[in-house]
Structures are given as structure tokens and as C-alpha cells.
Symmetry: C2
Subunit: 329 residues, 2 copies
């Protein structure tokens, strides 16, 4: 900038004026400055500018896995909103590891990001407290972070309820639930929705029809249930990895799956799903964030995004004859 000023025979500040399109510069001078800029290949150092101005026009995104379709869709939406607000986006994957999440978040904060969108990897976000107090905005997405920050979730419980109710409506009375580790917020919520649906239909909860745990064990868990004395006639899976695990194990039961996935419509039968809205999640989270960055006050908000039931065949299958006939309880 100094060089440009010298080359154009003006003071530093004039160059600054031109670069920032501030008023108070003769067209002629401006032209001389612009010529010098062009000739010297000058580019404003945005970092220095932002250091001076106090805002960084940068947000940080921490998700479980940048490579996962659900989260990367979310990331795409966050990116769009960020760009619309003239901000760039740091992104990083926590890999579901609370320590890595913390390191990433703190690294972003050290860069003085204006705000953070976080998919919490762990339950404890105490480390964020000082940062929030220091003025960083933060929004939790997909799961609550245990702090009084804005939070955007999917309607996990209501979605599971709708999916299970869909199966019950087809005449199923014994519906299995295959979910992830109940320590995971979404897994627990979906299980609750399943239970509520059964209860509302006047059905008791049979613990032998519920298996919670790592996706890679879901196939075996279902095999065991089906081999048991009083097997399920339909299955509700709690997330995509479990759904895929069940399908890979060769099972093709009447099925409703929580979370949509690529090509679900091409399988035979097509897989009926309770679709979430990853883009909506990202967009909403980012919009809340920028409201806060713009100075929005008020208590933390908690928004639940609706799910959508997409019938494709697997969820519309009736109970296999003989497995749960009339009189069966």
C-alpha cells in the first residue's frame, strides 16, 4: 500500500480511500492510484484490514465428518449463508471426538471467528463458556450442546413417532427398533418417539424388540430377533448407517428408516424413510448465527425442523402371513 502510494505520488490514506471506495477522491487521482495498483499487482491484505476493524468476517463450522453426506449437505447450506453475508468459512471435522472438537473450536476462536456452527461431539461444552463471554456467537446444530446457545434440531422424536405409526397403520403389531448408542442424543430421542407411538397405539413395549448399539452390530441383532420365538413383523431403523447395515446383512423386512439416503429409491423394494432436512438445518443454524453476529440479543432459541415421511415400498408392506395373524397378541 505504501508502494502504491509512492508510485501514484499520493499519501497512504488516499490509496486506502480508493481501495475502499470512500468519497473524497478526485476521479483523476483515483485513476492514478488504480493504475499504480494495477501496475504493481497490489492486493489488499484482508487479514490486516480485519485486524484493524475488529471483525474477521469469518465463521467456523465444526461437524462430525466433512465427508459424511448428511453433514456435508449441512455444510453446504452454512457456506451459502456465510457467503451471502460476505463471510468466509473455516471448516473442520470432529470425528465425534470431543477433544478434537474442542481443539478445533479453540483454534477457530484464536483466529477470532465472528461465530461458530457446531455439531456437538460431546455433552460437555464448558470450554466454550469463556469464548462466548468474550463475544463469539455460537449455534449448535443437530444436537444440543448443553449451553444456553441457540440450537437447531431435527424433530427426532416426532419423526420416529410418524415412522412407527406408519407401520402400525399397515397392521404391524410387533415393530423392532434398531438404534444407535442411546448416549447419543438423537438416538435416545428417536427411541422415545418409537415408544410413544407404541404406547399411543395401546401396545406394550417389548424390550426384546429394541436393540441399541453400534451400527455394525445391527444386522446380527436383527437376525437374532427374527430367529426368536416371537419375532417382529416390521423394523424401524434409527439412522442411515444402521439401515445400511441391516440391508447389507441381507434383511429385507417391512421397514421404515430414519434419515434418507442416496439410492434408497433404487433398492427393491424402495426404502420408506423419515427424511431429515440437512440443508434446512445448516441454513437455519447459519441464519440464527448471523442474527447474533449482527447484534441480536434475547434468550437462546431452540428450533426443531420437521421431518417428512417418504413412502417408497418397504414401509407399506403388510405383516408376512402367519407371523402376526389375528388373535396374535
Amino acid at each position: 500500500m505504501k508502494d502504491v502510494a509512492t508510485a501514484a505520488g499520493v499519501a497512504l490514506k488516499t490509496v486506502s480511500r480508493v481501495v475502499n471506495e470512500e468519497p473524497g477522491v478526485t476521479p483523476a487521482t483515483a485513476r492514478r492510484v488504480l493504475a499504480a495498483i494495477e501496475r504493481l499487482g497490489y492486493r489488499r491484505n484482508e487479514s490486516a484490514r480485519l485486524l484493524r476493524r475488529g471483525r474477521t468476517a469469518t465463521i467456523g463450522l465444526v461437524i462430525e465428518d466433512v465427508g459424511d453426506p448428511f453433514y456435508s449437505g449441512m455444510g453446504r447450506a452454512v457456506e451459502q449463508v456465510a457467503l451471502a453475508h460476505g463471510s468466509l468459512m473455516f471448516s473442520g471435522s470432529s470425528g465425534e471426538d470431543p477433544r478434537r472438537e474442542r481443539d478445533l473450536v479453540l483454534a477457530f476462536c484464536a483466529r477470532r471467528v465472528d461465530g461458530l456452527v457446531i455439531v456437538p461431539a460431546g455433552p460437555d461444552h464448558g470450554y466454550l463458556r469463556p469464548e462466548l463471554d468474550a463475544g463469539v456467537a455460537a449455534v449448535f446444530a443437530d444436537r444440543p450442546g448443553g449451553l444456553d446457545a441457540d440450537t437447531v434440531l431435527c424433530a427426532n422424536s416426532a419423526g420416529a413417532y410418524a415412522g412407527v405409526a406408519h407401520l402400525l397403520r399397515r397392521g404391524h403389531r410387533r415393530v423392532a427398533f434398531l438404534g444407535d448408542d442411546p448416549a447419543i442424543f438423537t438416538a435416545a430421542e428417536r427411541l422415545a418417539g418409537y415408544r410413544r407411538a407404541l404406547a399411543d397405539a395401546g401396545l406394550g413395549a417389548d424390550p426384546s424388540l429394541v436393540a441399541m448399539g453400534p451400527p455394525e452390530r445391527a444386522g446380527a441383532a436383527l437376525s437374532a430377533m427374527l430367529a426368536g420365538g416371537d419375532p417382529p413383523t416390521a423394523v424401524f431403523t434409527g439412522n442411515s448407517r444402521i439401515t445400511v447395515a441391516v440391508l447389507r446383512a441381507g434383511h429385507r423386512p417391512p421397514l421404515v428408516a430414519f434419515d434418507d439416503f442416496e439410492l434408497a429409491d433404487l433398492l427393491v423394494p424402495g426404502v420408506t424413510v423419515v427424511a431429515q432436512d440437512p440443508m434446512g438445518l445448516g441454513r437455519t443454524a447459519a441464519e440464527l448465527l448471523f442474527e447474533r453476529i449482527a447484534g441480536g440479543r434475547g434468550p437462546a432459541r431452540r428450533i426443531e425442523l420437521p421431518t417428512r415421511l417418504v413412502p417408497r415400498g418397504s414401509g407399506e408392506l403388510p405383516p408376512a402371513p402367519g407371523t402376526a395373524g389375528p388373535g396374535h397378541r
Copy 2:
């Protein structure tokens, strides 16, 4: 920092020394400083630090779509390498729009990123010239950028060759090629591989068996071929979006597809693919980048990553009887 210095009763520089773990500080003083840091909740401003030091410890990643599984897998690998080098990563999607790509790249350069990994959206990267001359490192991934920068590609031509040869080995003599717009580098390369495989097998190139264009038209293109007088007995698809379009259109021909995709193994029959290595692409690109950032000189390198043929059933089907019997030429 000033506040910490005051609170600890030392000079600014001493705080700096402690924070940077530089030698020349008595353990006792260090302790006093650390206590003040803790008490005041001080966090070093990394941006200011990096402004002074001249490096930003930041790289930029520009891909087609952060939400696409292939590119987001690549991004994950780039991120890992970046973190291993103590750098953070800006990421952005070009959406295949050269102007957006340019804007993103320039925005990253204005933030003085140390380097860039770019999946080129357009053929013209002249705008990058001044930035490269200014010292930014850059690596092109997945497609060449038309500049003398390091480039990492998949073996598009060789991969297509292998896939087509696989079909020919099963007795197919009329293999259709459904590819994307040949203006896209990868599409053209894969077409070339297809042609080479036919030529090496002593087969002439039948233009009526080649359809290049947007994925959403691939289904109709294949339907037309199959309804023609001398239809193909097998199909090679040039990318995943085309593969899916063909399958969605209801076709289940003997098929080898370029690029792997989630659940290819669960379809009936399983889809035989020529798998690329998105993580390898990202890792290699990032490693080359950090070599350059570290000061590596020498001419631009061009690396091709091998593909892998994954037989799953669809590519092992013989010609349907009567469509291409002996004597047919």
C-alpha cells in the same frame, strides 16, 4: 496482552515469551504470568500474530460442491493433512461456476492463505498468475488447471480402458459409452480410454454407441440406443450421476460404471465399478501443497492416481442371447 502484562507486573514482551514458550523467563515469573492469563481469560489473537509473522497457517480448498460425496471425501483428506501441518482450512464450493471459483480463490488470497487446493471449474486460470507470482502455493486436483502448477489426477483414461476391457472379456462386442459433456476434462479422458480399449480389441468405433451430454439425458439416450437396429449389449457409464440416471430410468444392462458410489453393492445386480480414490486425491494434493509451502522448488509435477476395478455382478453379465451372437459383427 497488555492487560496481562500489567496484571502480572511485567512487560508486554515477557508475556509474549511465556505464551510462545521462549527461553529466558524465570519459572517464577512465568507462573505469575500464567496466573494472570488464567484470571483474565486471555487468548492470544492468532490473526495478529500471523500478520506479524507473515504466514497465516491457513490453506484454502475450492471444490465443486462441498456436499458431493466424492469431493467432500477429498476435502476430508485435505483437512487431515492440513491439521497435521498445523494449518486450518477455508473451504468453499464453486458449483462448477468459473466466476464463483475465481471469487473464492481471490477471497482466500486476500486473506493471504499459504496455499490452495483447487478443483478447477473452468479452463482459464489466468487470474491466478499474479497470485502465484506473489508466492501463494497452488495444487490442482481432479482436473488440470491449465497453469504450470502441481496437479493430481485420477487415471481417467486407463480406468475407462480397464472397465471397457472387462466387458469385452465377457464377450461383449457392442459396448455403449454414456459420458458427460466432453468439454469436461474427465469426460473427454474417459471417452479416450473407451476408444483405446475398443481399438486394441480390433473393434471399430461406432458413433451411434456414444452419447455425451448432461446426466439427466443419459437415460433417454440409452433407451434410444436400445430401441435402435443394432443395439449395444453392454454399457459403460462415465460418471456416477450418469450411472444413477441410467438406473433410475429403469435400465439394468450389463454395466461397468466409472466412479464408485454408496450402495452400489446393494442393487440387484451389484454394480461393477471403476473406483477412484477421492481420499488419495485429497491427501496427495495436500501433501504436494505443503511441500511447496515449505519451500519446495522444481518444476510442476503431475501425478495420476490408479483406479481399481470392483466386480459386483453387473459387469460380469454375458451378452443377452440373440443380441450379439456368433457371426454378428
